[in-house]
């Protein structure tokens, strides 16, 4: 061990020492730090060294802070390799018996010991920092999504902005303008509504899905054609808690291409961003489900929402003279539903933000989880999805270069 350490330190630039644990068995091997390869190669390597070629695995590693983090795509694999020091400790689980709760920590309960250290690791005496807590994606609220990719023309984009109780402003302005459209009579100049300005740091800007000079075509499914600027403004504000805007982006280069096969990468990239919301139900819509599914399946984020959640923001608060504020339920006569803690903030978003941004995952400072880093990383479909991840990653990177950061 000590020798290894010395060797490692002397060759720290070239090789990463790996200690992989599956059940009670350990395997040690090394990887070239400069050329880690792709995740699927790595995954195959693990199956090979453990001699479990047909076992579906969930791969986790202990990061510098002692947290158990998943490895399921190129990005977090590379991250794991680059941050491994002195050695990369891997923990493999059978997918069917995987214990997802072991990943990260539940920030609500904030157990004294991290799950990782309690369950998997020996206590690390040298650790100076308190355990950093990572939330599961389901602890986050979605901030924006692209929806209805399957039914919209490729030149259009339907964006949903979630203005939950958060303080971040929606942050954009609209203006009158004119757009040229092809009609039966030839080209025709028609009045239209355009995004005129983005507020830096606002919700609209942070999603990267809307841009200045994008033409607004619909607001929550209602066409804006023939409506005045003020009317559209009022419509947007009235829908501000759950605003769905269909735009014709001024920049048509990042459009979702739906023509199957080769185009799937781009489509998948956008669509996976849209579907990044993690939830226990409907997981098949999420993340790195098969390429074909990502491209062809209706990416209706709405259908994954419980109906009441759509409505929840619209619920009024009643304060009884003697009691405390409570949200107004729908009249019981109409329908009954499980009582959900509606107006409790879903999670303390700020706490989550800080913890996430300081963690090993690459997370935007504005508290949104970039799709590339984490989207679907913990979903139970990651194993199958990994097959196609390398070229997707490159696609995604190109998207990012265009300033289109897809966020959850």
């Amino acid at each position: 061990m000590n020798k290894n350490h010395r060797v490692q330190s002397s060759r720290s630039l070239s090789a990463v020492e790996v200690k992989s644990k599956f059940g009670a068995e350990f395997r040690r091997f090394s990887l070239d730090r400069s050329k880690p390869g792709r995740f699927d190669e790595f995954y195959g390597l693990l199956q090979h060294v453990h001699r479990i070629p047909n076992v579906e695995l969930l791969v986790g590693y202990a990061d510098v802070h002692g947290d158990l983090l998943p490895i399921n795509n190129d990005d977090n694999y590379h991250k794991a390799i680059s941050t491994a020091s002195p050695l990369l400790r891997l923990f493999l689980q059978r997918k069917e018996e995987a214990d997802y709760t072991a990943f990260g920590t539940d920030s609500l309960t904030r157990k004294k010991n991290t799950v990782l250290s309690a369950v998997l690791l020996r206590p690390d005496a040298n650790r100076k920092k308190p355990p950093v807590i990572i939330s599961l994606p389901r602890d986050f609220r979605p901030v924006s999504s692209i929806i209805d990719v399957d039914i919209l023309p490729e030149t259009h984009r339907r964006v949903r902005l979630y203005k939950h109780g958060q303080e971040k402003p929606l942050g954009f302005y609209i203006r009158d303008g004119s757009s040229v459209r092809v009609t039966a009579q030839g080209l025709e100049k028609l009045p239209g509504i355009f995004i005129s300005r983005m507020v830096p740091g606002g919700l609209a800007e942070s999603t990267g899905l809307l841009a200045v000079n994008d033409e607004v075509l619909e607001v929550n499914g209602i066409e804006v054609a023939g409506k005045s600027l003020d009317q559209v403004t009022d419509m947007m504000i009235a829908n501000s808690h759950n605003l769905i805007i269909t735009v014709k982006p001024a920049n048509q280069r990042n459009n979702v291409v739906r023509s199957g096969g080769g185009g799937g990468g781009g489509g998948g990239g956008a669509a996976s961003g849209s579907s990044g919301r993690s939830s226990d139900s409907g997981a098949s819509y999420y993340g790195y489900s098969s390429q074909a599914a990502a491209a062809s399946m209706p990416m209706h984020i709405i259908q994954n929402f419980p109906v009441d959640e759509l409505e929840s923001e619209d619920e009024d608060l009643v304060i009884e003279a003697d009691g405390e504020a409570e949200p107004i339920r729908r009249a019981p006569s109409n329908y009954s539903m499980p009582s959900l803690p509606r107006y409790e903030p879903h999670l303390n978003l700020r706490a989550a933000t800080t913890s996430v941004s300081s963690s090993a995952l690459s997370i935007n400072a504005n508290g949104t989880l970039p799709a590339s880093g984490s989207s679907g990383s913990l979903s139970n479909t990651n194993a199958t999805s990994t097959t196609s991840s390398p070229d997707r990653a490159t696609e995604r990177r190109s998207l990012e270069e265009d300033g289109t950061v897809i966020t959850l």
């Binding site: 302005y173 303008g177 009235a238 003279a321």
Partner: protein, 990 residues
């Protein structure tokens, strides 16, 4: 199968909707905005007014009204009735002539445009050659003489507008016959006036701008006489006997010329500058009318000494030794005189003056020439309207008391009946008595009879007497000191200048059963008034209410409270104030309601709301709704900034009005037009440079004015538990918050001494945070709760207190129904999220079916910021119908809208006019009237010339008989089958 049945139900509902709802704009009340021309037909007894916006309006007997609109958006500059016919000709600013007629159709008359015409000159001629400056409708009724800027007179045959070129009187023809010494000096200029000889229609006098007048014989086509006046000509009048011509001039002089047979250059017989010595302004029109015995009446407008009274708008009336300069408050458009007698050739009976802001009629046969109260065309804006309130179905008792109080105020009016009596009003009597109350900037409340087509003033309440104001109440009417010259007399009621903007009335609530009225104003004052038939001297106690309730850190930067008179004030019979609440800070009152059964008044401002017990005269409740982060609420901008803006706007309007004097149209209009176009283009370019953009942001709790109280509502309902109903007060704020208070009222026998208490019961925060504009409680049947005392007066069935009540909260964006007493959301209708429009005005109305009398529904009448009106069903809040009503740019029109309880509404189309509209198939108030063509024989006019006694049954019968005779004639002439129907209508009326 199911689908079919459903379809059937829907179509049934659609049919029902058609039976319940229809949209009509029915009538315009008030005074036309920017009148520009006046015409009168003695034979039809109809008055016509043209406006700058191209509208033409005809008025006869009260209820007889017609309205037409020219397609061209050009000002009407002249209106002329064709003598003894039902046609009239209008001249527009764009030099087009239009022929209108009153056509009978299904027993009613309608105003129709039947022809249009523009003079065409010879090719290559400058446009001035055919620019019409003077129009004479010839007595024959077949000719129109058109004098032009080029000095020619064109003769056109009507109604076909056929130019009779051979009869035209060209300038050359006239100039050739003019004496050399005159023509040598100057050119004749445009045709300023055309008048025919009253005793010989073949002779017309042509007055040229330079002063020369030529009497022309139309038959012989030659000049008979030249009248060589040397001053710039303003108008010409041919006296009744045909022997004199009067001319008025731009230097303030008028001349009288003898009409002789021979062509000699006579000196004027008489010349006078009535207000002379110093330079005077022009006399723009002069009239002289004989009386059967005694000296004639001489009337002229203008002529005032330029330096000292050049800004007055005066008409001088001289009769015998009486000489009065009637001093109007706005610019004189035109005037005419109504004459007695069968052929309207008798003594002058009334002077009708159209000034820019009102119509004034002066009784010339009663001493002192009092004003006759106009039954229509009343200037609503005598002081700017600040709010309005409509009360339907007034009980007869209250109605009579209001009328009595009003009559005492009208004693200075002439007792003579309205002198313009043309046409027959065939509209059925209004089914109920409706009151429209308008609050004004000067602190007055006007009560209008809004039951019928004529919006008639009933009573005027002034609240200024309660307060100390800058002006001394004694000094405003004592003008016209003895021996003053000119002998001015102020007439007219248009007075836009307010003593103190704080007096402005902002909210009104009248209980029609008890006669209690509450009005609230700009400086946070709330007055409670009681109808008293006797004059009373009393002190009004003021109660100051601190709405801030200890909220720290606020400083009111707006106006101060009004000073209350502490000594007893004498109040005339009518509504007399007995209680006064003054809010602190004295912000404008934004919501007000009164419950006469509980004797409570609730009021709200931008800072909070309060509940006042006007029996015990103390406060029951004060609630501050202010958001600590809302600093704007302290500025008092709602009152201050708004009023400054308003006054600025008004002064600009005044300047513009005076600048764009419509006086003469021969000034070159093209230059003006070009200038305007250039300005418009520049404005447009500017707009394109800086595009308008709108911020998209969710409403937050710290927006400004979230605490502003928008609506207050009293309800007897189930607020705390479902078994006991109790009085409650509801308040809705701009921030989407609803406060509910439970009220405890002492038993009736202890009402005077035990306190009324209010406990907070509920607070609802609408998450969409849109301003709450209405709150209604629906009873167990889903019907809105009746008004206070309505049940006690057996005018409404008592509400269903067995079933569960529901709360309807109307915000600008949504209609939401909640259950009571446990507030849970039941139904909603999202308006803004779907439509992009926002609720501006809302009312509860009852709609009757047009087919079955016993079926009706209650619904919400809604006006949106897009100017659309909607009907929303109750209690299911479903959108029923939608109609465009007001232009969305017309913000003040939308803000002024009031709904009635029967699906009608009013909104201001100009500062002085209400448009009335109806959403109901049953409640429609629209003019239905008939005007018949006068016959040339004298007998047909017999009944008209009789003094129009209030209503003698004999006369009515006489009239209807006459009408029948006429009918017979018409029938025989036309052989029309519709006459049968007309006959029926006639007999029904008789």
């Amino acid at each position: 199968m199911k689908r079919f049945r459903r379809h059937g139900q829907e179509s049934q509902r659609d049919r029902l909707k058609q039976e319940l709802f229809q949209f009509n704009k029915t009538v315009e009340h008030g005074f036309p905005h920017q009148p520009s021309a006046l015409g009168y037909s003695p034979s039809l007894q109809l008055l016509a007014i043209g406006t700058r916006s191209g509208a033409i309006k005809l008025y006869g007997a009260p209820g007889v009204e017609f309205m037409g609109l020219h397609d061209e958006n050009a000002a009407v500059t002249q209106v002329h009735f064709m003598p003894h016919q039902v046609e009239l000709v209008t001249l527009l600013d764009d030099n087009s002539l239009h022929m209108w007629t009153l056509r009978g159709h299904k027993g009613l008359s309608e105003l129709l445009e039947i022809g249009r015409f523009t003079l065409t000159g010879p090719p290559g001629a400058p446009p001035s050659v055919t620019r019409v400056t003077a129009v004479l409708a010839h007595a024959s009724g077949e000719l129109l003489l058109l004098g032009t800027e080029g000095g020619h007179v064109f003769i056109v045959e009507v109604p076909g507008f056929r130019e009779l070129e051979e009869r035209n009187i060209s300038l050359d023809q006239v100039a050739a016959s003019v004496p050399d010494d005159y023509i040598g000096r100057r050119n004749l200029e445009h045709v300023e006036a055309l008048q025919e000889n009253p005793i010989n229609p073949n002779q017309v006098v042509i007055g040229y701008g330079r002063g020369l007048m030529v009497i022309w014989d139309l038959e012989k086509q030659c000049a008979i006489q030249h009248i060589p006046a040397t001053q710039q000509l303003e108008s010409v009048w041919w006296t009744e006997d045909g022997s004199y011509i009067l001319s008025s001039h731009s230097d303030g002089s008028y001349c009288r010329w003898m009409v002789g047979g021979e062509d000699v250059n006579e000196e004027e017989e008489k010349s006078d500058i009535p207000y002379g010595h110093f330079p005077c302004k022009a006399i723009s029109k002069i009239i002289q009318l004989p009386t059967e015995e005694g000296p004639p009446f001489l009337l002229f407008s203008g002529g005032m000494p330029r330096a000292s009274y050049g800004d007055r708008h005066c008409i001088t009336v001289i009769h015998s030794k009486t000489h009065v300069a009637l001093d109007f408050t706005s610019r004189i458009i035109d005037f005419f005189v109504i004459r007695d007698g069968l052929q309207h050739t008798g003594d002058p009976s009334a002077l009708v003056v159209l000034v820019e802001e009102e119509l004034v009629v002066i009784d010339l046969q009663t001493d002192c020439w009092p004003v006759i109260q106009t039954p229509y065309l009343v200037p609503l804006h005598s002081s700017a309207i600040t709010c309005s309130h409509h009360v339907s179905a007034i009980p007869l008792k209250l109605w009579e008391r209001v009328i009595t109080a009003g009559e005492l105020q009208h004693t200075h009016y002439s007792k003579k009946p309205w002198p313009i009596t043309g046409g027959q009003n065939l509209a059925p009597d209004p089914p109920q008595r409706d009151l429209l109350l308008t609050g004004h900037e000067d602190g007055t409340v006007h009560f209008w009879d809004a039951s019928g087509v004529c919006l008639y003033p009933l009573y005027k309440l002034s609240t200024a007497g309660v307060f100390h104001t800058d002006t001394d109440p004694n000094d405003n009417m004592n003008q016209g000191a003895e021996g003053e010259w000119p002998p001015f007399r102020k007439v007219g009621c248009f007075d836009p200048y307010s003593d103190d903007p704080r007096l402005g009335i902002q909210k009104i609530h009248l209980c029609k059963y008890s006669g209690y009225l509450t009005v609230a104003g700009t400086a946070g004052q709330i007055l409670v008034l009681e109808l008293n038939d006797e004059a009373a001297e009393q002190t009004v106690e003021a109660k100051v209410v601190d709405l801030l309730q200890g909220q720290e850190g606020f400083r009111w930067k707006g106006h101060t409270r009004l000073d209350v008179r502490e000594e007893p004030v004498l109040f005339p019979p009518g509504f007399q104030p007995f209680a006064l609440v003054q809010c602190q800070p004295p912000a404008v009152v934004t919501a007000l309601t009164l419950h006469s059964e509980w004797k409570l008044v609730a009021f709200g401002t931008s800072h909070g709301f309060g509940l006042y017990d006007y029996q015990q005269k103390n406060n029951v409740l004060i609630k501050c709704t202010l958001n600590p982060s809302d600093q704007l609420a302290m500025e008092g901008p709602l009152s201050r900034v708004k009023s400054i803006k308003k006054s600025l706007r008004q002064s600009f309007r005044r300047i513009r009005r005076s600048r764009v004097s419509l006086r003469k149209h021969h000034v070159n209009n093209t230059a003006k037009l070009q200038e305007a176009n250039a300005r418009l283009e520049a404005e447009l370019a500017e707009m394109e440079l800086a595009p308008v953009q709108r911020k998209i942001e969710a409403r937050s709790s710290d927006d400004s004015f979230t605490g502003l109280v928008r609506t207050l509502y009293f309800a007897d309902t189930f607020l705390s538990d479902s078994s006991h109903n109790a009085p409650s007060l509801w308040a809705g704020t701009n921030g989407g918050c609803v406060f509910a208070y439970m009220l405890r009222l002492p038993p009736v026998e202890h009402r005077a001494d035990e306190p009324v208490t209010a406990q907070p019961a509920k607070e609802i925060q609408l998450m969409h945070r849109a301003p709450v504009v209405g709150i209604v409680v629906l009873d167990g049947h889903g019907a809105p709760l009746p008004e206070p005392l309505e049940v006690a007066h057996d005018l409404s069935r008592s509400p269903d207190m067995q079933g569960s009540h529901q709360l309807l909260v109307i915000s600008e964006e949504q209609f939401k129904v909640f259950t009571l007493p446990k507030v849970s959301a039941k139904m909603k209708l999202k308006l803004t999220a779907v439509d992009g429009s926002r609720v501006r005005r809302v009312g509860v109305a009852w709609f009757c079916s047009s087919r079955t009398e016993d079926y009706g529904e209650s619904g919400l009448t809604v006006l949106t910021n897009q100017g659309d009106v909607h009907v929303v069903s109750l209690p299911h809040v479903k959108m029923q119908v939608q109609y465009p009503c007001i232009r969305r740019e017309d913000v003040s029109g939308i803000a002024s809208c009031v709904f009635t309880k029967h699906g009608q509404g009013f909104y201001l189309i100009s500062p002085s006019e209400f448009e009335r509209f109806s959403l109901s198939t049953c409640h429609l108030v629209e003019p239905r009237c008939l005007v018949e063509a006068p016959l040339h024989s004298g007998s047909s006019n017999q009944h008209r010339s009789q003094p129009d006694g209030a209503s003698s049954a004999h006369r009515t019968r006489q009239e209807s008989e006459d009408a029948e005779v006429l009918q017979e004639i018409q029938k025989s002439l036309e052989g029309d089958q519709t006459s049968f129907l007309e006959n029926n209508v006639k007999s029904a009326v008789a």
